[in-house]
Symmetry: C2
Subunit: 273 residues, 2 copies
Amino acid sequence: MPNRTVFFVSDGTGITAETFGNSILSQFAAKPRHVRRPFIDTVDKAHQVVREIDHAAAIEGKKPIVFATLVDAEILGIVKEQSKGLVLDMFNTFIEPLEAEFGMTSNHRIGRFSDISKSQEYNDRIEAINFSLEHDDGQSAKNLAQADVILVGVSRSGKTPTSLYLAMQHGIKAANYPLVPEDFERGQLPSTLAPFKTKCFGLTIDPERLAQIRNERRPNSVYASLDNCRHEVREGESMMRRHGIAWLSSTHKSIEEIATTILRDLRPDRLMY
Amino acid sequence: MPNRTVFFVSDGTGITAETFGNSILSQFAAKPRHVRRPFIDTVDKAHQVVREIDHAAAIEGKKPIVFATLVDAEILGIVKEQSKGLVLDMFNTFIEPLEAEFGMTSNHRIGRFSDISKSQEYNDRIEAINFSLEHDDGQSAKNLAQADVILVGVSRSGKTPTSLYLAMQHGIKAANYPLVPEDFERGQLPSTLAPFKTKCFGLTIDPERLAQIRNERRPNSVYASLDNCRHEVREGESMMRRHGIAWLSSTHKSIEEIATTILRDLRPDRLMY
């Protein structure tokens, strides 16, 4: 039972505050309650958050932790000076040394997404999501030439979530293509992939874990049986090895880690821009 | 032409460092080059990054900015003390006050995703992604009772990316359902949605922007014409109003902002856990 609350207070979505705050909190054994308060962009809303922070402090008898990404000095001041929380000011802490180094003052704009909908980068993300949806699970071989990355691997090795993540977060057009028993019988990559081998990236997975995942979908099927999973994984890995396709095991990796590894190995340009 | 490089150096994916660093950099008019260096988890790799930072410093004649999320003291020390960059140490800056407040030392674990693949939260995300894919664009009315959220709106109002984002980032089972001219003629919500009105959330969009988006897909069609877009948007909004469905305009909002607003209004529990 959590006995302390952590607030993520932001004038924008609060996603930055929460992502960053969580990665710091993961260094502690404490398991606090999480409360995200987005769009705190008026003095009134700031006072409301202060009341909420103080309420938690009174009930729990402990200082709430407040990760704040608030650009406006007045709003930040209210939360920082009037609440009973330990306010970690994530913006100004780093803005000051940057102002000194850049030799310019920051412009104190609220929210990092303001009207991003019009930007090219944003349109590219949307287009990439549509592309990845249309090219999920080998649905379409059309326009594969336009793909940035083609993920290959046996069914349920993690291709779909990884493709969508690459599209959504990085604007990468990621197709994905299943390796199926017929491919293993022929001993060849699906013929549609042959011209695009250099942009293929393989996912493999521990057969025990694969059997577990497949059993949730189709319990007690041949498809989900451990024997079959072992066979498919072995054949898949050997096919990738034969064709010189880089691959990794998704078993103990998050979508974020898989996506980052693919970018680093296949599209390092996307980590530098 | 950027004349300064910003590095995001991490022992994990570097996504936290980059997200947070970008939101701080967005406060400045400077447009530096971005380089993300993930998985820097050995002394050798640290030295390699130092060389890269110093190379940028030499070429650009300016201190590179380095946003670092490095837990290991030795690795951080190398980057901090041996490179010519301005190193912003995102972890320790906040870990020290937290150690004092929690009354415990942090455990200096590397990477926040270690073996997260086994966690319930992670499985929920994957399941939500599959659900959202199966319920994209009204494809299936099956299991709508299991949906956490059902997005409604005219074609190309932003439903698909928002559903996938909600699933991927929050483990929310988000179905989406198009409002089509036939619905407007009948003057009624699609009948499959009627039992689930309380979990519907509407997206609308500026007709000019909609026409622009639709024209990219089907140039010069009736579907994409401004007149038709105006008609559909007007009818869609009036239908949502009549049925008491909360809605927002996606025109000037990012996927992240739309998703956060939906959570706040429809599933505030998902912002507190």
